[in-house]
């Protein structure tokens, strides 16, 4: 049985992730993501990976958060413009049946993961972290399959990535810590770059979309 403080520490990221993924309001979801990244940084610090905690704050919370808000068109000076995107709801209505149907791939992946991890027992001190990592991967996969909105999928991607990092750092022993650090740093960079690209794309698509809507409206009204 893992100690209680470990379990308590593992809880906030999972809860926050669930909120991020299933909140219907996008701006709130993005704000929650920043909180989530900070909670993960706390976990890193608790596990003794100071450098990773700092990187997580810088790349995960600050830069990724900035990208997400940029995608939404929110800037610190201009405030939040009331574009369609801010209140954008998924076109696909969430029903219980769809929700359950889309959970199958996530459950399958989790099952595979659990089979593999069963061979590598964890010590008490990291068991809670490993479990939280697996839950994050599962939640993220479920959300990725469920949502059609690009930004929500980016969020899901980031959360799966974080889950993998958590599992990874609990798996590596003393000998391979350097390799583990290398993998996580590369992964963080990739996640950040992917988010940057995705955010820029979403922003650009939104602009083009708006232009097209405006263009067709004025074009229709002119004659």
């Amino acid at each position: 049985m893992p100690p209680l403080d470990d379990v308590l520490l593992a809880m906030p990221p999972v809860l926050l992730a669930a909120l991020v993924l299933f909140d219907r309001h996008l701006v709130r979801a993005c704000s929650l993501f920043v909180l989530f990244a900070l909670a993960v940084a706390l976990t890193w610090w608790w596990l003794g990976f100071i450098w990773l905690a700092l990187l997580e704050i810088l790349l995960g919370a600050a830069l990724t958060g900035a990208c997400l808000f940029h995608a939404l068109g929110i800037s610190p000076v201009g405030g939040a413009p009331q574009t369609r995107l801010t209140h954008w709801k998924d076109p696909v209505v969430l029903t219980w049946r769809r929700g359950l149907g889309q959970s199958i791939p996530a459950l399958a992946a989790l099952g595979m993961l659990a089979t593999a991890l069963a061979d590598m027992p964890a010590s008490d001190s990291i068991a809670a972290t490993r479990w939280s990592g697996q839950v994050l991967v599962g939640l993220g996969l479920w959300a990725f399959a469920l949502h059609r909105h690009l930004l929500r999928r980016l969020l899901a991607f980031n959360i799966i990535g974080t889950g993998i990092f958590l599992v990874l750092m609990t798996l590596v022993g003393e000998a391979a810590t350097a390799a583990g650090h290398g993998l996580v740093m590369t992964g963080l960079m990739v996640a950040l770059l992917g988010t940057v690209l995705g955010a820029l794309l979403i922003r650009r698509l939104d602009t083009l979309d708006a232009q097209r809507v405006v263009g067709s409206e004025s074009g229709g009204g002119a004659p």
């Binding site: 595979m112 993961l113 089979t115 593999a116 991890l117 069963a118 061979d119 590598m120 991967v137 990725f144 690009l150 999928r153 980016l154 991607f157 799966i160 990535g161 993998i164 599992v167 990874l168 798996l171 590596v172 022993g173 000998a175 391979a176 810590t177 350097a178 390799a179 583990g180 650090h181 290398g182 993998l183 590369t186 992964g187 960079m189 990739v190 996640a191 770059l193 992917g194 690209l197 995705g198 794309l201 979403i202 650009r204 698509l205 083009l208 979309d209 097209r212």
Partner: protein, 497 residues
Amino acid sequence: MIERLGLLVFQPAQPGSGWAVILLVGLPLLLGILGAICRPSRGWPAVFLGLLPFMVAVWLLQRVREHGVQAWVLELGSLTLHWRADALTLLLFMLTQIVALASAAYAPAYLRAVEDASKGSLVWLWPLLGTLVTSLSLIWLAADLLALYIGLELMGLTAVGLMLLPGRVEALAAGMRYLLLALVGSLAFLMGVTLLLGAWGRLDLVGLAAVSEPGPVLWVAMALLSGGLLLKAAAFPLHAWLAPVHASAWTPVSALHAALVIKASFFIALQLWLVLVPDAAVAARLVGGMGAAAVIWGGLMAWRAAKLKDVVAWSTVAQLGYLLLGFPLLIGTASVAADIAWEGTWLQLAAHSLAKAAMFLAAGNLLLATGVSRVADLAGASRRFPLSLLSFGIAAISLIGLPPSAGFTAKWLLLHAALAAGQWPWLVVLAIGTLLSAAYVFRVFRYSFIEDAPLHDYRPVPWGMDLIALVVASSSLLLGLLAEWPLALLRLAGGAS
């Protein structure tokens, strides 16, 4: 089998070759940055400077011929990265250079002809191109999973960036989809690497080959790694992103992507299988079955596709199926069959790279000249654009696998290997694939030979662009007859040491 990949227990490298590798990896990046600063308006300076890394590769290949496989360990603090250069990787590097050079030489004239090439995206083209080539070099040379991961991610993101450059809505939408799938693929890859690292505590391929043992961990890890890589390689059930991405990308970018980026994922996947699960015959047959489905489905879709670029893109899906047949022929088979399949697979890879690049370039020329995108609108093209159509045709010969072309020689070897391994179904797959590819290629030609077609407005394409397509296409033809030279090098690397 692992020796064939140049993965030997450590062998000291010759002095000087370490610098050569740094040049190999670094030069394309430098040239890319230089390109962003100078923004060449002609193709020939790009070709001229691009020959530099090629020369380095030739020099290194000479080294490898004399002294055997070269391997290095890069130490960053407590982190170690492993590299190796053998004949296979250097030949792949040269192939990369050839295709990249053709694209780079083609790009300036193409961009002048395309109206929607905005200035901003032009600046980005060259550094992205350089980065892509660098990442490919990393992938060919890397001998551990961390370095492979870095190379793979760099390549994936750069490829997405290149695909987005046209900036049109369709390009962006397709690019977004590509980005998301590529990211998911890299997560799966990362998870696989994580499991391997957790189980055995090391990432270098030579070491992993020695210590890894079969069990659920290895199988799950391999499933995740292969899943991620095959998604990036557009292997059969995971191929849906490919055609839309190509439909709106710039021609030279499409050529590079279909010729190299997809192949790099395939290369990593095959390498990992050979290193980690060299006896998993049943699973390899499963992959072969996916390949068979890809050959048939891709061929059918290419046959039905309305747009010329879609025809070419779907044909990539089908041709990748041929490469996937390498898995069942190489893994768990007797060495008689595996030896032939080994040569056939790499020859098929090279043949398809050259032919597909040439085909994209030729198709790009046709599209530019006619200003239409549908196959049916090419009616009467044979009279007006004989040269573009000739390049298209020569590339098509190699794709179908008709003699005398590299595609034919590769198919011969694969057929021979399938017979030697006693795996009859692949014969049928190769046969159906040939007929389907003939069907979709000659559909294009059938339209082009129509005589009483209405005259469209068309503009002549600069002859340089036609020439580049023709040269690349002819090289895929010549390789068919001169295949012994590169294949002998492959044998040297595998058999001698």
